[in-house]
């Protein structure tokens, strides 16, 4: 009798506390989430919507625009510069991403070996990624100088060429130069993140493959790559998104020139909207990047799906 009374006494406050906890969870969750939600709604979601709307208007700096439907997009499709810029952006993204991936994976594989001072190497390899893009791009600007380029100087000295290379003056060379600078900055990111992926692969898999008679290439092809696929998908999605929407490097090195050969969607959008004053048209150019980005995100999503499946299909 007294025992039951004690039990009831003990249980009562606990049940009250527990149900209060359940009740509060949604309210409390909302309160904790509120600052972040407010920030993102005001400065991210709203501008995104505003950007889509602006793309349908003829807004200019200092003058509110009116709705013009698809006129901006229709004009852009007929615009040779815009079409060239779409081509440039795709070329820039594809070439830079493929080379970044290949070299980054190579560097990751090297760093995954037993090396002295490995932590030190890893730290200094990340430097190009850490330093502000604009500031390292200024260094590249000087390296690519038409007259005093250090690359030209070295090649002349080695007797390989007889006059300085006009890195940023010739359309093809300028494309190559900005892609090279982008690759330089992107390799560390790809290498270090893939290295993190490589370190999670158990050495026993390689030992088992070796016992089965696999050679180096086969171990790479049938053990490393499949184990690394999920992380490659995510890393390359990030890399593609950053490259596709790149602005800083081009703005510093060429401002889109020579003859628009290095203009990307982001730089064209800036040029038409801010110095040019055509906010509506600039917004339409920026919005036209979204389909490409969505494609990249879908790619990443399916990469992650595969990862879950590999780990045993939990949620």
């Amino acid at each position: 009798m007294s025992q039951t009374a004690q039990l009831v006494l003990r249980r009562a406050p606990r049940r009250g506390g527990f149900s209060r906890f359940i009740e509060n969870r949604n309210v409390l969750g909302l309160i904790f989430l509120l600052p972040a939600a407010a920030f993102l709604l005001i400065f991210l979601t709203y501008p995104l919507g505003l950007g889509v709307w602006l793309g349908f208007t003829d807004t200019q700096i200092g003058r509110a625009g009116s709705f013009v439907g698809l006129d901006n997009y229709r004009y852009l499709i007929g615009d040779n510069v815009f079409r060239l810029v779409v081509f440039n952006t795709i070329l820039y993204t594809v070439v830079a991403s493929v080379i970044k991936f290949a070299l980054g994976l190579w560097l990751a594989l090297i760093l995954n070996e037993k090396l002295p001072f490995k932590a030190f190497f890893r730290a200094i390899i990340l430097l190009p990624w850490v330093v502000p893009t604009v500031l390292s791009a200024i260094a590249f600007w000087w390296i690519y100088d038409a007259q005093f380029s250090i690359i030209s100087y070295s090649l002349i000295h080695l007797g390989l060429i007889d006059h300085p290379i006009n890195f940023l003056g010739d359309p093809t060379l300028a494309r190559g130069s900005v892609i090279a600078a982008n690759i330089w900055r992107g390799i560390p990111f790809v290498a270090i993140t893939l290295l993190a992926g490589l370190q999670t692969i158990s050495p026993s898999l390689y030992e088992a493959a070796t016992l089965d008679g696999a050679n180096g290439w086969q171990r790479f092809r049938h053990v490393t790559l499949p184990m690394l696929t999920p992380i490659i998908a995510v890393v390359m999605t990030f890399s593609v998104i950053f490259t596709f929407t790149d602005f800083q490097l081009i703005y510093v090195l060429t401002r889109g020139g020579p003859v628009n050969a290095t203009h990307l969607l982001a730089t064209l959008s800036f040029q038409r909207a801010i110095p040019g004053g055509h906010l509506g048209e600039g917004a339409a150019i920026a919005i036209s990047m979204i389909p490409f980005l969505l494609a990249a995100i879908m790619f990443s999503y399916f990469g992650m799906q595969r990862r879950r499946w590999q780990q045993g299909g939990r949620d």
Binding site: P35, L50, V131, I138, Y206, F247, M289, I297
Partner: protein, 299 residues
Amino acid sequence: MAQTTTSAVVAVRGDEGGMDYLTKLPRRVVTIYLPLAVFLFVLLFPFYWMTITAIKPNHELTDYQHFSPFWVVHPTLEHIKYLLFDTDYPAWLWNTMLVTVGSTVISVIVSVLAAYSIERLRFSGSRTVGLVIFLAYLVPPSILFIPLALMVFKLGLYDSEWALILTYPTFLIPFCTWLLMGYFRTIPFELEECALMDGANRWQILAKVILPLSVPGLISAGIFAFTLSWNEFIYALTFIQSSENKTVPVGVLTELVRSDVYEWGSLMAGALFGSLPVVILYSFFVDYYVSSMTGAVKE
């Protein structure tokens, strides 16, 4: 003869790790050390070039006949002096510091609350909110700067630090929240349950149990947010007009480059000093930085 000695040495050392002993030293030199050296040279050369240009006097800078461009004969501080005393550079540094610290602090505080709420309070729909936050991270500034410029203008923030302090969190909060969610997930639920049993409320749990345990996560998020906002360019370029309000990347590019004459020495000095704060911070917290970078990708 030399071959057998090396293989013997390698064989003895082979027990230390995996199957490394199967590759011999000369082969390792060609497949590992040589490519590594080339990678290091290419990745680090621009920094060397930046430094050497910053301390080179002008007459050496453009005279490749008499001076080897790879070295500096008479180092000078004149570019740095020009930068510090004859330009707005100190003001740019101060602005960048202010904006970076301001937006980082705001973002980390807001993200801690959001991440705790999503990961631990598990309110209904928290999974969806988590996914939405991840997608928000993938929205690049190049898409948002035009509408944001309009908003900044309408809010009367144009040409002030607040324009940047308030807009930088748009890319910092999603990243920090995502990172901290991953971090909070590693803290055992039991600790929180103990605290709940002891009568702590949620606020106390967050402040006295979760936060002390997630200091490494907070440092990672803080460092990464700091470097991201220090590097930011397009918003600063669009929202700031007057020279004394600019940040370092924008100021160096727009104010130091005058029509024809490029002051390469002071440009490089500006780039070097603008990079130093992030590089110093990075060098103290390399591991945190790497873990935040890889963590954000792995989750």
